[in-house]
């Protein structure tokens, strides 16, 4: 066991928690209307509570527990049985097993929270809660097993996903799209843009996401070493490149760059570099940043408008699309010179790896889309996913939570 590695993964775990609350909560919370901000904060907060418990009770075991035919972990580690101070060398030989477990818990938490962006401002709280629990159990946990679990079938095929481009972003982003389509548009959508009620909150969230993402990506090295350093540097570089590129596109396209654009671009950069950060070098990370900004901008500001679905806060446009870009980019730019435990990508002559990445992508998209569809239908039948129009107009804060975010008169 190594105290430096342990210190790093402990703080990285805390950083990933910070990404969800307050990071993502404020990023999303600032984007909605005043009457719905608490609903976003509530959804993020309760996800942290619910998935933390789901994870220690059985989720971790499903995802990382002893393999069952490559498709799921068994329940042997349910309730953290056997998950203690001794390292598990399959996952991380130099830190306590429980540290690896809690680091992964934070990933399991943020993933369903990302989906909130798609159904913001119009779901019933109980329906959201049930959906989230089912999704975490039947989408996230299996997928994490396939890609990261010892014995997982995609891992066995050699799929590369350093910190969750597939497991976290593509899975949540695709599910977000399916939900947005199934739920329909918000009342009043299209008549004119629904404006962010507090952009400073959104910037606060974006900045905390950037900060916390160092834990997410560089923490995924599971050690404080040169690989962590590479992940840290590539993360920062891709993010900076994507944020700046987004601003430049806007400048050219609309006449002014916006802070919402830069923040959105930065998050897209973070997403895209996630699967790649431990496999590519910083200069290629810079290219990934530029590419993802171009692609996501097109998705969010051009295509979404044309297709007309209401992905309220662009969970699909940023995480789904960005994760896809990153997964493919990993198949292009990965090099063994950066990470001997990785693989070379297409640009380094390895077509096979590129194929594996594409396969992973297709599998994940199909799996997440189908499962989300099924879970939606179940929850919709049992509880009803969408709030009544009257309540949507009054706002979710008052109608789902009996609270108001701000006082007007005191």
């Amino acid at each position: 066991m190594n105290s430096g590695d342990t210190a790093w993964v402990l703080i990285a775990s805390a950083l990933v928690l910070l990404m969800t609350i307050p990071g993502l909560a404020f990023f999303y919370g600032g984007l909605v209307r005043r009457k719905n901000v608490l609903s976003i904060l509530m959804q993020c907060f309760i996800i942290v509570c619910v998935i933390s418990l789901q994870w220690v009770l059985f989720g971790y075991s499903l995802a990382f527990g002893p393999d069952f035919h490559g498709i799921i972990g068994t329940l042997e580690w349910a309730g953290l049985a056997g998950v203690g101070a001794a390292p598990n060398s399959n996952y991380a030989a130099t830190i306590p097993h429980s540290v690896f477990m809690i680091f992964q818990a934070m990933f399991a938490i943020i993933t369903p929270a990302l989906i909130i962006g798609a159904y913001a401002e119009r779901v019933k709280f109980p329906a959201f809660l049930l959906f989230t629990l089912l999704w975490a159990t039947f989408v996230y946990d299996p997928l994490a097993h396939w890609v990261w679990g010892t014995g997982g079938w995609l891992k066995s095929l050699g799929g590369l996903d350093f910190a969750g481009g597939i497991v976290v972003h593509v899975s949540s982003g695709i599910s977000a799209l399916v939900l947005a389509l199934l739920l329909g548009k918000r009342v009043g959508y299209n008549s004119k843009p629904i404006r962010p009620h507090n952009l400073p909150f959104t910037v606060l969230g974006a900045a905390l996401l950037w900060f916390g993402w160092f834990g997410f990506n560089a923490g995924s090295a599971l050690a404080a070493d040169g690989l962590a350093a590479n992940a840290f540097v590539t993360t920062n570089t891709a993010t900076a490149a994507a944020g700046l590129t987004w601003a430049l596109i806007e400048w050219w396209h609309n006449g002014t760059p916006t802070i919402l654009g830069v923040a959105t671009g930065a998050v897209a950069g973070l997403v895209a570099v996630t699967p790649a950060c431990g496999f590519v070098n910083p200069m290629n990370a810079l290219f990934i940043g530029i590419i993802v900004a171009l692609v996501c901008y097109t998705a969010v500001a051009v295509i979404k408008g044309k297709l007309g679905y209401d992905d309220s806060l662009d969970a699909f446009g940023v995480h789904g699309v960005g994760g896809t870009v990153g997964t493919i980019a990993t198949g292009l730019f990965a090099e063994k010179a950066v990470n001997a435990a990785g693989a070379d990508g297409l640009l380094f002559g390895n077509l096979h790896q590129f194929g594996v990445q594409c396969l992973m992508l297709v599998v994940t998209i199909a799996f997440a889309a189908i499962m989300t569809f099924i879970i939606f239908k179940i929850v919709d039948a049992v509880i009803g996913m969408r709030v009544e129009e009257k309540n949507e107009i009054i706002g979710l804060d008052l109608t789902q939570q009996s609270e108001a975010a701000y006082t007007v008169i005191e």
């Binding site: 009342v187 009043g188 008549s191 004119k192 009996s402 609270e403 108001a404 007007v408």
Partner: protein
Amino acid sequence: MKLVIAIIQPHKLDAVKRELEAVEVNLMTVANVLGQGRQKGVTEIYRGAKEAGGLLNKVRLDIAVNEAFVEPTIAAITKGAHTGSVGDGKIFVVELAECVRISSGERGGAAIG
């Protein structure tokens, strides 16, 4: 000249503005207000302490118009804000004694539009 004061539901503001434009009433002053009306507010709860039916968010429009525009203005607001249920709001009309455009110093009906 009259000053037309309308209290409407916030989400109807755009529709009302569209209707007003249709009758060529383009100038107005808008404010956030809270209303206590026949529509019941929603109960709020803070650490177990309940507050029944607080005030509701409303939007207030102040529109100064010449006589000929009074009825069209009322009709346009009504059209844009109407749903037929409690809470739609009210329109109040007040006599306007004078109107001044600051930039030009114009007065009366000429200053209104």
